[in-house]
């Protein structure tokens, strides 16, 4: 085991040390468990905060969303659902809205039938391969999804290890990014007041990161990539919108490890990730130099919130030495 000229060590002490480590680390369980979620569909609103640079851009967008709070307003995006690979997942969806809705997990569930107003439906499925998935309401020709009915479903490896999948690349911290858009005047204002959206025209004027405008997202600890040099962040990214989102990382290239559930045999090193509508990707970002760097969309109008600069799709990367 040891090279002949290696310094001798006290093997008993070594074994004791290893045993102590084993006691300190909670055992990794690979037993499939049950994960039960209740989601309530309700109306709500998305608050857009003003640019602190110019004071422009505050707005309130009427929305619909899933929430884990019975009787609460809908959240945009909906709650993060997590499970471990192989878990028995049960999601009970209560439709507290006056319109029909549903709940679909892309690449996981197939039932697209409606839950009528006031109705309840329970979806059961086995947590699939570790990765990122998007859940959403598939009804009403994208209107329900555009209104905010979407979220991310995260599947971790069965053993609960900090790796993208069992035996896959390891990470030290993880963030999830749900990107989307809203066309306030033509879709949200119309649908929320009971009107019929002309779905042949879509000109979104708000571009959201985790349901937030850029300045909120850049100040959000759960959205930022934070850590020290040497750390590796796993980003689970889903696009719940109807536009492709072309996201650019400053500070370092990232490694593309999974696209729409397809794990790459060899990881590509890139600085732009372009996620199509309802696409999902996983990327690894190595924190390799100290500093503060933006991650932002590179598509002009999508960098704004109704034309207010930097209030579109963005996040921050903060790296300590």
């Amino acid at each position: 085991m040891f090279p002949p000229n290696a310094p001798t060590i006290d093997r008993t002490l070594f074994v004791r040390f290893v045993l102590l480590l084993l006691l300190l680390v909670p055992p990794l369980s690979s037993e499939a468990a049950s994960k039960n979620y209740s989601l309530y569909i309700a109306t709500g609103s998305v608050t857009i905060t003003a640019s602190p640079v110019t004071g422009n851009g505050a707005a309130t967008i009427p929305s619909w969303g899933y929430t884990d709070v019975a009787g609460g307003p809908g959240k945009v995006p909906g709650p993060i659902l997590t499970a471990r690979e192989g878990d028995a997942v049960s999601v009970t969806v209560v439709n507290n809205d006056s319109r029909s809705h549903n709940f679909v997990v892309k690449r996981v569930t197939t039932d697209t039938s409606a839950i009528p107003a006031g109705g309840t439906k329970t979806y059961t499925f086995t947590a699939p391969a570790a990765g990122a998935y998007v859940y959403y309401d598939s009804l009403a020709g994208n209107v329900n999804r555009e209104m905010g009915l979407y979220g991310i479903f995260i599947v971790e490896p069965a053993d609960g290890s900090l790796s993208a999948w069992a035996g896959g690349p390891a990470y030290t911290s993880a963030v999830s990014w749900v990107v989307s858009e809203m066309d306030k005047p033509r879709w949200n204002d119309v649908a929320s007041s009971g009107g019929t959206v002309n779905t042949s025209v879509y000109k979104p004027n708000y571009f959201l990161m985790n349901g937030m405008n850029g300045f909120q997202a850049m100040g959000d600890a759960n959205t930022s990539i934070m850590g020290r040099v040497g750390d590796v962040a796993l980003v689970r990214l889903v696009n719940a919108g109807q536009y492709s989102h072309s996201l650019h990382f400053h500070g370092n290239h990232y490694r593309l490890i999974d696209e729409d559930g397809v794990r790459l045999a060899s990881f590509k090193e890139l600085d732009i990730v372009n996620v199509p509508p309802l696409g999902t990707v996983m990327v690894l970002f190595e924190l390799n130099q100290p500093g503060v760097y933006p991650m932002h969309i590179h598509t002009a109008q999508m960098e704004t919130g109704n034309g207010v600069y930097l209030n579109g799709v963005a996040a921050m990367i903060a790296i300590e030495p």
Partner: protein, 334 residues
């Protein structure tokens, strides 16, 4: 940022700095330092008969000559150091808080002090941006202004930055990367961009910037609406290898194809993407280019003479429809 560099040298101490310089000199005798200064000037482009004002980078800093769109290409070798200075004297600009300009070295993984982002501390009054290209970085990049990028990129403040592999004597190799399989006989940049004239007159925070309606579609700053009036041309010899650098500065979707005179798609091989070699080269018959992306592709011309048309279709972000007038042609005769 020169101040930062000086501090680092002082910190290391002169002996350490000298030793370090000696090591670098001994190990990579071919490494060069490239000093370049660019300014910003107005330039009017006539697009489909309409005059549109742009702000372009130019090396002509002594007077009020026109800017270039795209700006001057920066070409450097792996191992080389670039000092790219932005001089903002007499530069056209917006009113505060979006006044001034910077340079962002897009894709070059520079430290925060060289990143050119005003919101993380970059000066908007001119600066020198420095980095050394690491081995393995051969490929295509961009330098562009990072002040109010929505407005300033639309105004044309962008240019290609190309990193090339070098031989042991410090000469550029005619290859995309240090891998011999990427050798080419001809190379051209295909920097693609779009123009919404409304963005050229709007300023600051404006609802104009919430909606993008491009009217003009460019390769290397030129329209090329038909095969008879291509944006870019190349006269090549039969059987030779051609590399194209596809560089996305547009704000919609785009699809690149390479077609013969009958319109049949020809396959090509992607060797690098975003300035990095792909784990394995990918041979395809079309590629989507998203805003900010770069692809370095390679193909071999037929052994009999003819004409091929590299082309870019600019597509609506929502429905994927190609815009009216949104197909831009290049032309390769051989």
């Amino acid at each position: 940022m020169r101040a930062t560099l000086k501090k680092r040298v002082l910190f290391l101490g002169l002996p350490a700095a000298a030793a370090l310089a000696g090591l670098v000199f001994a190990g990579r005798a071919e490494a060069a330092t490239i000093n370049k200064t660019v300014c910003v000037r107005n330039v009017t482009k006539t697009l489909s008969g309409t005059n549109v004002n742009f702000w372009g980078f130019t090396e002509g800093c002594m007077g009020m000559g026109a800017g270039l769109v795209p700006g001057p290409v920066v070409e450097m070798g792996e191992g080389d150091t670039l000092n790219l200075t932005l001089n903002v004297m007499m530069a056209p600009e917006e009113a505060a808080p979006y006044n001034g300009h910077t340079i962002h070295l897009h894709g070059l993984d520079v430290p925060q002090a060289e990143d050119g982002v005003p919101e993380t501390g970059a000066s908007v009054s001119g600066d020198t941006y420095t980095f050394t290209a690491k081995p393995g970085w051969a490929g295509s990049y961009i330098y562009h202004c990072h002040v109010h990028t929505v407005k300033h990129l639309e105004m044309g403040m962008y240019a290609s930055l190309i990193i090339r592999p070098k031989d042991a004597n410090g000469n550029f190799l005619k290859q995309i990367t240090s891998t011999a399989a990427t050798a080419y006989d001809y190379v051209q940049n295909y920097l693609i961009s779009t123009v919404d004239p409304g963005y050229h007159t709007a300023t600051g925070d404006s609802t104009v910037f919430a909606d993008y309606n491009p009217l003009y579609f460019l390769i290397e700053g030129k329209e090329g609406k038909s095969k008879t009036a291509p944006a870019v041309t190349l006269a090549a010899a039969t059987g030779k290898k051609v590399a194209l650098r596809l560089i996305g500065l547009h704000s919609v979707n785009a699809r690149f194809t390479l077609r013969d005179s009958n319109g049949s798609a020809k396959s090509f091989t992607i060797h690098t993407r975003d300035g990095r070699s792909l784990p394995a080269p990918e041979t395809v018959s079309s590629v989507s280019i998203s805003p900010g992306q770069r692809y370095d592709i390679l193909f071999t011309l037929p052994s009999t003479s003819g004409t091929w048309y590299p082309q870019v279709e600019f597509q609506d972000l929502w429905n994927g429809n190609t815009y009216t007038g949104g197909t831009v042609y290049g032309k390769i005769t051989f």
